[in-house]
Structure formats: structure tokens, C-alpha cells
Symmetry: D2
Subunit: 337 residues, 4 copies
């Protein structure tokens, strides 16, 4: 932590800050420049948590030097983590593809989808039973009934299944049926939900919030991990910007940034990021080439009648074509599908 003093800071202001730091058992290193004086704080900064040094007289600003996330931090865990979902490993040599409908609409819809995506090479079945929708008048999901269909789909196909949870109720239901929990973008900083998801011990897919910095995203993952659950996979799904040609702006630079700052695996969801079916293939290619550990892609037996996000869903035929087209790219990345 560095404290930057105002120009012409009084000597006694500097001394007062120094005293507070030392009274907490930390060291204060003073660098007095011609224009400004800075104070480097050496030691365990959590001891200063109840001191708001920013508002002491003559303090200009405080600059953080170390990240506030620890368990997700690559500095203290240099090797990449592999998260197991059923028998699927995310973060290893396989580019893991999760696919399925945005919303579970019926048993038939889900089972036919599960078989189709398995045939095309997908590893994990996704499906929404609790849908966070902008308007309360839009379809809100089948809830526990949908979860039961997920379990059946797993039994029929052997694919592990993942479902978004939006409340403690949903978590309590989901743990009975699914292999992985998803925290959606709108709940990325629903810290209560993160802790509860952490407590289940199930692997958690944590989507990035629409306006979350990468630093906040890793701090959110820290809420899950600090409950004793290291099985977190991150999912980039677009951030909110001024551009309207796509629903959100897919931030593929997040992939190498996460790889540099954290040991957690990261996958990419081009379907939600763009909201447009035609952009799913090029951005899936882009995601893999950038180093992503997997993809989440929406599919639907009949996208034109999907109750949620139809315009971005692929037909089974389109999805199978996509996985075939991804294959050579995955190979030159030294991975397999």
C-alpha cells in the first residue's frame, strides 16, 4: 500500500500517518520528493482495515499494490487448476463444450437436445430451470421440474449437467439433480448466493457480471473458494459497453488476463455475448485461439419457437457443423475436443 500525500503536505500530517501505521505494527517508508511525498507501507495491511487514511489531512490518495483476492491468485498458486465435473476435466487438455437450451421447456425438448449435442461432441449439458428475465412477464423457467429433466438427461446420455441457480431455494433443489451450479452474470455480486454455492462443494461456473472488472470477478470467485470450495470455473460472456451491434461486447482479452492473474479455468459463452447466431462460430474460433478452456453454446431443437434467447441458439445441425469446424483449431492449440 502506498500513500500519496498532497503537494505541500505539512510535516505533521506526514508524521501523523506514519504514527498510525507504526502503531499497528507496520513499517512506513517515506520518500520525500520535490513535489510530493509518498509513504510506502510494509507489512500486513489488513491491520489497517479500520483506518480510512484517505481522509486524513493532506492525503491525496491511496494506491493498492497487492490484489485483495488470495485463493484465486496465481501468485500463490502458480499451477493451473483443473476442475472436475463428473468425469469431465475443465482446465486440462480438453476444450470442454457445454451446450443445451437457454431455458428447459419440456422433457422431450431437453432429451432430444442432450442426445444431439452428445453426438456432436459436447461434454456437458446446460439448461435453465430458473431464468432471470428482465421483465416479470417473460417465461421464468420450470424450476424443480426442469431440474428433474436434467437428471433424466444425464441418466440417459451420461453427460454431466449444469444449471443456473438464482436463490438459496434453487441451490437446495439443484444439489439433488445436477453436477455443476452456474451463477449468472446478474448475480455475480450476489455474495450471499456465492457463499451458499461455495458451501455445496459442487463445481461452480461463475459468469462475469455485465459491468464487472476482472478484479471484481476474481474477488467474487474468492467468496466461493473461501467457503472451502476450490472448484470454480470462470465464464466470460460479454460486458456492457456503448456498442449495440452485439448484445454485449465479448471481452476475449479476459482470457489471457485471467490466465496471467489466476489459476482458475476460463470458458467463453459467445451465444449470450453476441445474441446473434451468425456470430457464434467466429467468436467460438476466436475464444479457442485465445486460449479458452471451453465454450458454452446454446442449442435448441427449434430455435424459432424457443421460449428464451431463440435468436442466438443453434440448430443441432449447425452445432454439429460447428464442432467439426472447431476440431482442426483445437488440435493446433495442442488440445482435443
Amino acid at each position: 500500500m502506498i500513500i500519496v500525500m498532497k503537494p505541500q503536505a505539512k510535516q505533521e500530517s506526514i508524521q501523523r500517518i506514519k504514527n498510525i501505521i507504526e502503531s499497528k505494527g507496520l513499517d512506513a517508508h517515506i520518500s520525500a520528493g520535490k513535489e510530493v511525498t509518498i509513504i510506502g507501507v510494509v507489512g500486513d495491511k489488513t491491520k489497517l482495515q479500520d483506518q480510512n487514511l484517505e481522509i486524513f489531512e493532506d492525503v491525496e490518495k491511496i494506491v493498492a499494490v497487492t490484489e485483495s483476492y488470495k485463493l484465486a491468485n496465481k501468485k500463490f498458486h502458480p499451477d493451473p487448476s483443473i476442475v472436475k465435473v463428473g468425469n469431465v476435466e475443465i482446465g486440462g487438455k480438453t476444450v470442454v463444450i457445454m451446450s443445451g437450451p437457454c431455458a428447459i421447456e419440456s422433457k422431450e425438448q431437453l432429451l432430444i437436445t442432450a442426445h444431439a449435442i452428445k453426438k456432436a461432441g459436447a461434454h456437458i449439458l446446460r439448461g435453465g430451470a430458473y431464468k432471470p428475465r428482465t421483465s416479470p412477464y417473460a417465461f421464468q423457467g420450470l424450476e424443480e421440474e426442469g431440474l428433474k429433466f436434467m437428471k433424466e438427461a444425464r441418466e440417459e446420455t451420461g453427460l454431466p449437467v449444469i444449471c443456473e441457480v438464482t436463490s438459496l431455494n434453487a441451490i437446495e433443489a439443484a444439489v439433488k439433480y445436477v453436477d455443476m451450479l452456474q451463477i449468472g452474470a446478474r448475480n455475480m455480486q450476489n455474495f450471499y448466493l456465492l457463499k451458499e454455492a461455495g458451501k455445496t462443494g459442487l463445481p461452480v461456473l461463475l459468469k462475469r457480471g455485465l459491468s464487472a472488472t476482472i478484479d471484481e470477478w476474481l474477488n467474487a470467485s474468492e467468496y466461493i473458494i473461501s467457503e472451502g470450495n476450490p472448484n470454480v470455473v470462470l465464464c466470460e460472456r460479454g460486458i456492457r459497453t456503448f456498442e449495440t451491434a452485439t448484445r454485449n461486447t465479448l471481452d476475449l482479452s479476459a482470457v489471457p488476463v485471467i490466465k496471467e492473474k489466476s489459476h482458475l479455468p476460463i470458458i467463453v459463452d459467445p451465444s449470450h455475448a453476441t445474441g446473434v447466431r451468425a456470430y457464434v462460430k467466429p467468436l467460438s474460433m476466436g475464444a479457442i485461439a485465445t486460449g479458452a478452456d471451453g465454450l458454452m453454446i446454446e442449442t435448441h431443437p427449434n430455435p424459432s419457437c424457443a421460449l428464451s434467447d431463440g435468436p442466438q441458439s443453434l440448430t443441432f445441425e449447425q452445432f454439429e457443423k460447428l464442432t467439426q469446424e472447431l476440431r482442426p483449431l483445437i488440435e493446433i492449440m495442442g488440445k482435443s475436443l
Copy 2:
């Protein structure tokens, strides 16, 4: 709803869309231009909810004409709403000031604050018992104990009290102690929480999400109102932009926009928006001059030791000076403090 067809759309594509619309009992008005054809849909659009016309052949885009929120919409409720919190009316002739600490730290801290802000002219005591913090290692709040202190503060001062809720647990505790619930920015699209807050019947302060459009914000309020609870007050608290001189960018244009689109009262929180104490006064002035129905301002007996958001908190002396300075402005706005 308007459907814009692609240039050179085939006649059969246009006819197919027309047939679907009419098969749902709606009317399709076709305007064939030289470059493009548009189809105006007349009737109840909810009947088209399970049709994703965007992905039919030759469809370029769908343009929504009417807002998806109804109960919060001024079009169907032209008179401004007044929300009562205890005996305080928000949305009427009084500029309502809510004040108190970001986080409740102790009974003493809260009671001394309650008395001080009451003396300075504030109407409602705020205080956080459940704190959504970016890092799991930061102070998370006193939870139910803090709520009890809130109740005591109300009993001592007569001020109604408001507290943020972050989970169903928190709501269940809060209803026993407080007069108004707050949904924070990070939970603005935690639809489960919105519904539960709606069910309590208590007035709800709904803060705008960091990246929420005004349209999404009003849709979020619709989740509360559609549970039979019309007592919603909106709170603008800054949105996330590229600017870093302030913590967030306070969007004061939201005040007249909300006044035009909705009948709900709107207050402004300059403390969280800026994160800097020195900007609280000018932006409080700006908010009132723009037409806001109230303010939420953080105060603390000793900001330099506050466990949360100290740098933006005012001392009691600063707060009292502020309310005095606001008074002449409030009068020329035709309102009272």
C-alpha cells in the same frame, strides 16, 4: 412491434411472417418500400412471446414500440406516486433526506448518528447491517444485531429506518425491525430478491444497478410492484463508465427521464456515486435542482475510522452545514425540507 425485413426479402418470407402474426389473432400491416419492407404488428404482442421472428428467413430486426413495464409506467398511471415510510412522504412536497452510516458498527455509533442527523433535519435513518463487499475479507456487517440497533434508534428518535437486504434471510429478519427495505445496486437484477421484497408489502428503495439502463431499472421495479406492492422508490447512485475521477458517474439526467417515464419517486445518493466527500455537497445541490425527491447521504461520527466507505462520509457538523445550505434551494424548487 415492428418487423423490418431484409432488402430483397422474398415475397414468401413476408407472407410467412404475416401468416404467423395473423394466426395468433393479431394484425399485420405491410409497408413495402423501395429498399425494405416493414411489417407493423397491431394487437396484444404477448401472444407472440413463443415466436422468435428475428430468426425467420429474410427478417432483419424487430423493433419494440411499447415498454415492457406496465405498473411502473407513467402512461398508465399519469399522477406521481407518493410512498409513505412511517409518517414520511416521499414524492410529495418534502425533499426527503435519508442519512446514516454505510455500515452499522455499534449501538453507540448508530444512536449518536440518529440523534445528530435528526437534529440536522434528516427524515429517515439509514444503516447497513448486511454489507455486500467486493472482497470476502472485508467487514460484512452485524446482521440481525445491527437491525435491532436500528429499531432502538427509531424508538429513541422517532425516525423511520431503512436497511439493505441481500437475501431472503435478511428480509425475514428486517421486516421485524425496519420501516423500509433497500435493494442495493448489485442486486437490482436479483429477481428472486425483488419478488420477496415485494411480498413483504414494506416500502422498497430500489437502487439502480451499476450497468442498468433506465428501462431495465423500471422493469426491475415491476418485479416488486407485480407482487402487489406499489411502494417503490428509485435511487440513482451512479453508473459504471470509463471515468475514474469519481467512483461511479452520477447520472442526474436519470431524474427527468424517470419523471417522464414513470410515476415512481426518485432520490439520489451522491455519496456512493462519487466516493469522495468533497463532491457530496455540489451533487446534492445538483440533484435537488434537477428535481429529485430526496437524497441519501452517508454520515459517521468519525469517518476516519468507519469500517466501510469512510472517505465519502460526512461528519455531523458537515452534514448539518449541508442541510442548511440546501434549504434555500429546496425553497425555490417549491418544496420544503
Copy 3:
């Protein structure tokens, strides 16, 4: 300047950085923490301009401590500047109102406007002769002919006149006719244009770029001032965000931020910021209450036929009503119209 080293930085890496700093005649103060080491650089940092210390081995990041703008910086010029345009003073006790059409369309349009805004209390006539339009097919302005009309309007009414310039050609023409140059948002970082505007010695109104930070804005002003021209007035006119209810998001917090960081006057343009006539009054009120030194407001004899930005322009009647409504607010701010 502070250099933050990576955790486990090698001692020789730290030493190498120290040597470079000292070889330039600066001092390096090393604070060795348990996790990281930081190096405070004391002395004239311009001596390090040709050294990219960020990419030396084991360097994590560089943190700037002092602003790169000097002449616009309040630290070195604590008293607020007053900029004279003709006999009008901006930055003093008068809230200065600039008004007129977005685009000059004819002599009649301009003269009738000049008289009307003068009668309503405006101080400076604005009008666009060189219009930067998104599409090349939109009306681009009358160019020098428009400037001549501006001069005539000044001669008839005595109001100083301001006109946007978009090229050296435009500057060379404008200096013959107008009292103040305007650099528009799209040209805020057209550094060539800034320098040329600086060289004229005329007062310059510098609009904030749509995605410019306040720091970049002040650096842009530095380009003008460093040509020996201190007569710069800043104009906040909305920044680009995700919100679409207004054309841009008016950042009124920029007013107190500028007042804290710089001595330059700042005015606000609510017409361009919102793009909606109905929002001009509330945001004009908000701007003045926040401490702005003036306003720029578009007016037009017949907004429904304006060749540019009609939807946000006020009629003369609306403008006169506005100035009357602003008067009491201006008075309680201790200023006059």
C-alpha cells in the same frame, strides 16, 4: 512515480532499476515488503521519459503520482481563472449563457435568433458554420458565409460570437469574424487543431470528448495553453455510456472535479448531452446548482425545421421562460445572470 516490483522479484532486478533511476540523476527509495517491493522515484521524472521501466524484468507496474498537465493544474495556479470574451467574463460572478442554433442556416435565422436570445438574457451567440456530422450526406454547414453572418449578428446586437472550428482552414477564416473558437467533442484530441487554436490567442471553448477522461481533457487544454494562450473554457457535454434514454450521459460530477483539479472555468451543454428538449431545463438547473460557470443552450426560430439537432433546440419563448426560471437559482448561488 512509484515502481511496484513483482512478488519474488530478484535482488538484481531491483538493483538494475535503482541504477537506471540514479544514472538519470534521480533518487530511488526502496520499500521492501513481505510480499512486494516498491521503489519511489524522487526528482524530475521527465528525465526518465525514454525509459520504459514497465517492461524491465520483475517490474509489475508503474504508478503515476503527479498529473502530466501543469498549466491547467490548480496545484500550480490556485486562483480560478476568468476568461474574457469581448466584454463578457466567464468564471466570475456571472453565469454566462451561450445560445443560438446548432447550425447557421441563413442570415435571417441567425439575426432573429441573436436578437431573441439577447432579449432573454443570453451573453454570447453561438452558431455552427462547420458541422461535423456522422454522415457525409447530412448538411455540413455554410462555412465562411456563416461566419460573416455571425459577425453581422455581433454588430447588430453587441453579443460576442462563438463558432466551432474543425480544421486549420476554418480557424484561419474564423479569426476574422468571431470572438471565441470552439473545439468540438470529436476533435478534443485533434492535437494539431488544439495547437493551432492556441496560437490564435482567441479564447477557446474546449468540449469534452465523448470518451475522454477528465485527465485527458485537462491534458488537451494543456495543448492550447502551452501555445501561450491561457484563455481556455471547458465544456461538459455528456460522455458515452451504455444508457440510451439520453443521447449521452451528462456527467455533472465533472463540474466539482474540474473545480478541484483546475483553475479553468467550466460550462455545461445540456442540449447536446441529452438530445431531448424536455430535459434541457432540469439539467440546466442541475448544472448551475453544481457550480458551473455557464451554460450552452441551443435555440432555433423553428426547431421543427432546423437542419441540425432540431429535437433538442428550444423555441425563443421556451428559452426566455428558461432564463427566467434560472434566475432565482443563480441568485442563491451568489451569482447573477
Copy 4:
């Protein structure tokens, strides 16, 4: 164009709009819904340019149906364009790589770079002679002297050369020495400069503005093309968002969006987008996999002493390694280096 009327719009308001439209020789198709009435306008909309229908009584909003750019629009030019720079074709089967220093510092620096990048497989030499810098105190470029070095580098290596221009002066100098002009992000809406660049007939690389929508970007290209110069190449280089882990946010979805909306080639600049050398490779991979027609990558003989943007520049060794790593990816995209 579609005109959406307010709910309860008066019949005479609707009739008045209809009359105006028809008086201009266009057709008005009225669709009267239960809530709102919409009016479809059929015919040449430029005839309505001097009518601001938005502010007529009872008009809610105007929705544009067709894009304002024509010459850059794929609808009217379905085949992809190939732009020739010297003997290099951009937009065809070759992934074109432009490389070189951010700023030209000396003849030696430039020539050694030209030879090194040619050896590594690059096609075009880039180098900045006119540098738009945030601060006026930073190195501003060698200007015409730098251009002369560019010409020498071309003569020595045979590589075509590209240089940014920031003023008419710079254009007039550049046409004597370089093969392609670059318009930088800060000047994307410097419409005067766009027209002048268009008039030269030289191929132009148009970088996307930091806060430019794709629609605005294509409109900017229209300024160049409408001067009779169709040789425009677009360059995505990151947009401004709230994220700070990278300098800007590279918007790779722009690649497929441009491919769908326009026939112009598009290349990607990961160096400026990220500002971090370590992210250049993964995002170069991502760009090619997404379908980009080329890359612009900064190189420098000694990045730690570069006068501009050293931290993002690659050494020659790193650059050569990069082109080798890109090769297999380029091949599976069906292209060559």
C-alpha cells in the same frame, strides 16, 4: 423510417405528419394499434432531411430502418473488397501483417526494424512520424524527416509503408513518401481529415475511434469513399470501457459484424488494444481465428528504450516467433501468410 406516435395521439397530429410526408412525395403507411399508432415512411428519406418530425406534437420517436452509409454497405456491394497497397492485397487470401515501431526515432531504428520484420514474414512497414500524444510534453514525432526514412526503408526492403496522418500538412507531406495513410482512433471523426485523405486516392487504414459504434465507423469510412476513394481498410484497436486490466477492450466481435455489414477488409491491432506485450500473441491468434484480414503489431529493436508505447512492443525475436506460431492457424483458416 418508422414514426412511432405517443399513446393517445390525436388524430389531427397523425394526419399532420402524414401530410408532411406526402407533401415531400413519399408514402405514409399508418398502422393503428390499440396502444400506439406507427407510420411507415416509404420512399427516399433524404427528402425529409429538413423536417424534425421527432418534435411534432404526439410523436414518441423515430426509428431508422436503413443505414446511412451506402458505399461501405454490403447490401449494395455484396462482394468483399480487396485493397492493394503496393503489391500487397488486403482482404484476399493473405493474412497481411503490418509491423514496425510506434514512433520513428531514427533512420537506423527504422531500417533495422524494416529488415527484421521482412525476414519474419511481415508485409507492410508501419511507423509513426506524427504522434498524437495525450500530453503536449511527450515526444511528438520526427514529422517529415521520419517520412523520408520510411521511403528509404521501402527502397531498401521493398515493403510498402504506412504512416499516420493528423493534419492536412501531414497528408501533403505523406503522399510524397508512403503507400498508405493511417487515420488514428482519435481522428476517426475528424471529418475534414477523412475527406482530405479520401482525395489523395491512396489506400487509407481507418482505425476505430475509442468510443465509436460500428455504425459510426462505417459512416466515417463513407467520408473517404465518397471522395472517390474506395481503398479503405478498417482497423479494430480496442474500445473504451470500464475495464482497466487492458488499456482498451479489444472488440473482436467487430470482425464478424463488419464482415456482415460491409465489404471493406478489416485488420486488428492487438498491441494498442491491450498495451501489454504478453497479450499480443493470444489476441493475434484470436483475431485471425475470428476472420480478420490482417494484423498490425508493434515491434522495436529495444522496447525498453522506445520513445512511445514500448511496453506493448515486441522484440524482433518475439515477433519472428509470433509469425511462426500464427502460421498453422492461418493455414487452417484457408489463408496464407
